[in-house]
């Protein structure tokens, strides 16, 4: 288990899910009822961290639904494919987000209201498209890379659902670009040297926080959502990556290697008061906020297995 400060969490009630779902089987219903009874029989709180999955497969990039009822993450479903998977937090069940997917899909991002999501999809040999679509609805944008052997990275959707920001190569560097919600009207937000990646909007949509190697190794920066001067927030040796604003915008969770391996930290949104949340000798990575702003879901490698855990930030 990832080591962190003991805290309490709410028991998430079973309710109508975040994404449209197919009717469950009788067995699934029994499992859900059993989970509910177990939850009700348990103390009102549970000690963090809480292990959310147990299959141990390689996992990446979890995101929590806007209502806190589901997590969508990427798993290595077999040795050749990344699959977007939904975890129902009420009963612990999982199912593919796109059951008919036959190519790798990864790095999901959802709008703040849960109505639109974006992800990456392999479309050929070493070729990855950006897909933007309505939840349970139409595809809004299918953006292929401009040339072969390339693809987008790390999409994020603006809170007002007007733009998507992502990372893409540009002349040997990797910049942040913004497109509209249909994937058109591309505009560069950064023009720095090195690799710019993992953009995430502030809750008010005014700023973007991201990782960049512009000053050497990966550090975390913030800048206006429309681009412009970036403010450096971290100054540690090793990778500081995957920043995410808290729901109230006051904190940023991120992954850092400053202690010798991947650990999850939070800091104030101005970069001050960094605080370590995990202390495992193995990898703790991919922090994503719950809507309550009190917890994160992370991918933690424990006993050689990769699973999702919920940890407290308080």
């Amino acid at each position: 288990m990832p080591c962190c400060n003991p805290a309490t969490i709410e028991i998430v009630p079973i309710s109508v899910g975040w994404l449209s779902r197919s009717p469950g089987s009788f067995c699934a219903t029994l499992v859900a009822l059993a989970a509910l009874l177990t939850a009700l029989a348990a103390p009102v709180s549970a000690t963090e961290p809480v292990q959310l999955t147990r299959d141990g497969r390689l996992k990446f990039s979890p995101v929590v639904s806007h209502d806190g009822r589901e997590i969508v993450y990427v798993e290595l479903a077999d040795p050749t494919i990344y699959r977007l998977t939904r975890l129902n937090l009420a009963d612990g069940s999982t199912k593919p987000l796109h059951p008919d997917a036959r190519t790798s899909e990864f790095e999901p991002a959802f709008s703040a209201d849960g109505k639109i999501y974006a992800y990456l999809k392999t479309s050929g040999v070493l070729r990855v498209n950006l897909i933007i679509q309505e939840v349970g609805g139409a595809t809004l944008g299918d953006v292929p890379p401009a040339d072969g052997f390339s693809g987008m990275r790390s999409p994020a959707i603006a809170p007002d659902r007007k733009h998507v920001v992502y990372s893409f190569h540009d002349g040997g560097h990797q910049q942040l670009f913004e497109v509209d919600i249909t994937g058109k009207a591309r505009r560069a937000l950064t023009t720095s040297r090195g690799i710019n990646n993992w953009p995430a909007y502030s809750p008010d949509g005014a700023e973007v926080v991201f990782g960049s190697s512009r000053d050497g190794d990966f550090e975390i920066y913030r800048m206006p959502a429309s681009g412009g001067d970036a403010q450096r927030l971290t100054f540690s040796p090793g990778q500081d990556i995957r920043p995410r604003f808290s729901p109230d915008g006051k904190q940023i969770a991120f992954t850092t290697h400053r202690d010798g391996n991947a650990e999850v930290y939070v800091m104030q949104s101005d970069g001050s008061s960094p605080r370590r949340l995990t202390t495992s000798p193995d990898r703790d990575d991919y922090p994503a906020w719950y809507p309550d702003g009190k917890r994160l879901v992370i991918v933690s490698e424990q006993g050689g297995r990769h699973d999702l855990y919920s940890i407290s930030v308080e």
Binding site: R57, F149, G172, R193, I195, N197, D217, F218, R305
Partner: protein, 445 residues
């Protein structure tokens, strides 16, 4: 599927897993062949009883792993920090901290060079020491050792761990097997899943057969008689010759145990990591313990880094930095360190040569796609155990990691050194007509 035994896996999870050894049809398997070809010269005591050749198929970036250039311009050095190793003055990147922490127990070569820029040719070159064209294709290093050793009665002398023959997209890498020594010295192909399920894909031909239900040899023969046409269609002309050995492998408990990862403790399996490469690395160690002379431990069957239908290999034309930091290096670092420590703790390292390398390096200058492409002129390898002196840094690359400084070390020298450590000296190699013109990397010994 031809399931030979099923095993209750002891895991640290809340639910058990079932693990199956899946066997089907034998290829040109050399074990059980008479050792009459072994000459007096070949019988010298080898320093390495077994070899694990860790093949990082696709070509790992040397600058982003074991040959960083922190003072190079940003267009070259990449985004990862250099960290100290246990060898004075030697640095790796932060992506392989466990490797760095064990550098005093192996030696590294940073001056490899190959002539082949594409995967098929470079793959054959890396595995045989020679070009794929013109024919004939020379034997895989493992096939040479297989012919030299012959192998125990129930275990093959050359095992290749992957989900099949190493391929580049749909094309087989011709250097995967026996080459001029004949298909009798091809490897036994063994797959291993992230959960540790072991499978021998070629034996799928024998669908429906189950040796555990067969009471005697005659019974198995009668069942096998039902499939000769399938075997002929598949070109397995050596089936008859190796039938006895295949039978032994199928039914011999000791042989089966070598493939049964459920006999390992949870702690040991966890140490390697529940990934395909992690559990395959553990299987490699078990095969060493069982006396298999040569194991080619492939990181992936295909080199492609991200392509539907293929495993995620080291050919990172796309997402080089992301794949290395998110997936490849954490998996490799954990599994290799576990394998290395395990061999040490079991007292096997001195008699086991572990060589880790790809078929080439990757472009020191970051590509226009913010990744790295093929780079044959300069790459690295790591050598441990089996008579290799540890703690040495052999050769160096130039300021930008583009070329070796001074003499480069070729794939043929790699194969020649492996053969030498396995007891095939110059005369023995000449008698076998292999590795012609090869020189031993003396700095390793």
């Amino acid at each position: 599927m031809f399931d030979v035994g099923s095993f209750r896996t002891r895991t640290c999870g809340t639910h058990g897993r079932r693990s199956f050894l899946r066997l089907a049809g034998s290829l040109g398997l050399a074990w059980g062949l008479p050792l009459s070809r072994v000459s007096a010269a070949e019988t010298k005591t080898p320093r390495a009883k077994s070899v694990i050749f860790v093949f990082l198929w696709g070509g790992p970036s040397h600058l982003d792993t074991c040959d960083p250039k922190p003072d190079a311009p940003v267009e070259y050095r990449g985004p990862f920090s250099a960290i100290a190793t246990r060898s004075p003055g030697m640095h790796f990147t932060e992506l392989v901290p466990r490797l760095a922490d064990r550098s005093d127990r192996y030696s590294i070569i940073r001056s490899h060079s190959t002539t082949e820029p594409g995967h098929p040719d470079a793959g054959t070159m890396a595995l045989t020491g020679f070009k794929e064209i013109p024919a004939p294709v020379q034997p895989n290093f493992g096939s040479i050792i297989a012919r030299h050793r012959g192998g125990r009665a129930t275990l093959p002398p050359f095992v290749s761990l992957a989900r099949g023959v190493v391929m580049d997209s749909g094309r087989r890498i011709e250097g995967y097997g026996g080459g001029t020594l004949s298909s009798a010295y091809d490897p036994l192909l063994v797959g291993c899943s992230a959960e540790g399920d072991v499978e021998i894909p070629a034996l799928r031909l024998l669908d429906g057969l189950n040796p555990l239900r067969i009471r005697d040899r005659v019974g198995l023969v009668s069942q096998l008689d039902a499939v000769p046409r399938a075997l002929e269609r598949a070109g397995f002309d050596t089936w008859d010759r190796n039938f006895q050995s295949a039978y032994d492998l199928l039914l011999n408990p000791a042989a089966r145990q070598a493939f049964d990862l459920t006999r390992e403790s949870d702690a040991t399996r966890a140490r390697y990591g529940y990934t395909m490469f992690g559990q395959s690395s553990l299987l490699a160690r078990r095969l060493v313990e069982a006396g298999v002379p040569y194991i080619q431990l492939n990181y992936s069957r295909h080199p492609e880094a991200i392509n539907t239908g293929f495993e995620f290999g080291w050919d990172t034309h796309l997402y080089n930095f992301e794949l290395l930091q998110d997936q490849h290096c954490p998996i490799l670092d954990r599994a290799y360190a576990a394998l290395f420590d395990d061999l040490h703790e079991r007292g096997l390292i001195d008699q086991t040569l572990v060589v880790m390398m790809g078929e080439f390096g990757r472009t020191p200058r970051i590509s226009s796609h913010a990744a790295r492409d093929h780079w044959p002129p300069c790459y690295f390898s790591i050598w441990a155990g089996g008579g290799v002196k540890p703690g040495r840094v052999i050769g160096t690359s130039d300021r930008l990691g583009e070329h070796p400084v001074g003499e480069s070390i070729s794939p043929l020298m790699v194969g020649t050194t492996i053969a030498e450590l396995c007891g095939l000296d110059t005369q023995a190699r000449a008698e076998m007509n292999v590795l012609a013109g090869g020189r031993v990397i003396d700095a390793l010994l």
